[in-house]
Homo-oligomer: 225 residues x 2
DNA sequence: AAGCCTTTGTGATGTGCATCACATTATATA
DNA sequence: TATATAATGTGATGCACATCACAAAGGCTT
């Protein structure tokens, strides 16, 4: 399925700088697919020659660690995915899986490269995004390894509220086992910490729904133990 | 101090694609400085409008974590540093410190940006490098958090041997306290593990010099506990 | 609604490693 | 050469968290 990229409401900031000609190339050389929760969008170890643009929905970036699956981060549309594969050896070094319904554009590498070369602003935006990712990785990694579980769980909840859902009430589209892989703990610890937070009146859990009642406390926990 | 960049023997793969004109711009708009071990090249929190090219020597990329300093990784010349600062808010988000004698070129951002825009190959190379960094970060982070100390120490030693010094005998230009910040442990654990490895005949320590005697064992330890 | 599989809650137990504490050895400085 | 300072080695202790082991509850499927 093709579509007119210029009309796409999820046109990224980077894409906004493209020439009409480039838009046309994009429109004619991409594929839009729909994914259901749990569907694999990018699979670690597989060959691929597409750049992926997550148009709508949420996804998890994850990879096989030495002992268990590791969720690197949760991403929100609109965003590009799989750039390292595209510019590397074409073998996906990580997986991306939809954690909500999602629409995804697959763009052929050669087209993407061509557009990149013909649009300076666009390639600058891509570089900027990659740099931001690098910084985020650094800080995320330092935090995860230095903080205790309660701190990391607090961070995760705050990120869902402030970055992903932009709301203090949300339903995390991950099981506790997945949360554990995101926060670097065991499933059991996730359960324990969440019920602790609930008992302390910091959050309110109703089924899988979470409401943050006391953001200040969460931030305190994030900073101390 | 200026110099002719085209003659620079540490001309990166990326730079090799530059036009003569760009080389001239580079030559006229950069500064070469020498650093001694321990000197700060980039300082977290400081304003900066320079891209840094590490021409010779080794450096550590490090940042302030929530509880203690964290060494993100050790880098080897030739390599660019501080790109995220350049393309971000111009405030350094991490520090870089020389861990051996080092020569460094400071290139003005505007010149660098201009060269980037005028040389597609060059900007492609930069994108590729950033993508590789991202992948490396992912894997490094997954390993560090999942493996036990012995495994992480083994990885560190293997990296020094295979990636940094390209030799099984080397002197790590870091104190054990710094190694601890690199490997996510305590100084004491670093000491204990190293003496363990030495007693087991896996490495031979002579002062600060380390000789890897049994690389197979190190790889085993890296994979298991 | 019955049965099955997945997800979640919670106690009991064990352990890897941080932390503390101090001895010992290198390195720098006067 | 003496003296302060930093870097290392090594034991003893404690604790955060993984792991194990079930029970309970939700969500499927037929």
């Amino acid at each position: 399925m093709q579509s007119d990229c210029k009309q796409c409401p999820f046109n990224s900031k980077a894409a906004a700088t493209l020439s009409d000609c480039s838009f046309e190339q994009l429109s004619e050389n991409h594929l839009v697919l729909s994914f259901k929760k749990g569907d694999s969008i990018i699979k670690q170890g597989m060959y691929s020659t597409n750049v992926v643009f997550l148009r709508t929905g949420l996804a998890k970036i994850h990879l096989q660690g030495p002992y268990h699956e590791q969720i690197v981060r949760v991403v929100k549309s609109p965003t590009y995915l799989g750039l390292p594969t595209t510019f590397g050896d074409k073998i996906n070094q990580y997986s991306v899986t939809a954690i909500t319904e999602a629409e995804v554009c697959f763009i052929d590498v050669h087209v993407f490269q061509k557009i990149l070369n013909e649009n300076r602003e666009f390639s600058n935006e891509i570089i900027i995004e990659l740099c931001q990712n690098e910084l985020e990785s650094f800080h995320r990694c330092a935090n995860r390894t230095q903080k205790l579980i309660r701190g990391n769980m607090a961070d995760a909840l705050l990120e869902f509220a402030d970055k992903i859902f932009i709301s203090d009430t949300f339903t995390i589209p991950l099981s506790q086992a997945e949360l554990a892989n995101l926060v670097d703990t065991s499933r059991e610890s996730v359960s324990r910490v969440l019920t602790e937070f609930d008992k302390d009146g910091i959050i309110k859990m109703t089924g899988k729904k979470i409401e943050i009642l006391n953001k200040k406390s969460l931030k305190m926990i994030s900073q101390n133990g």
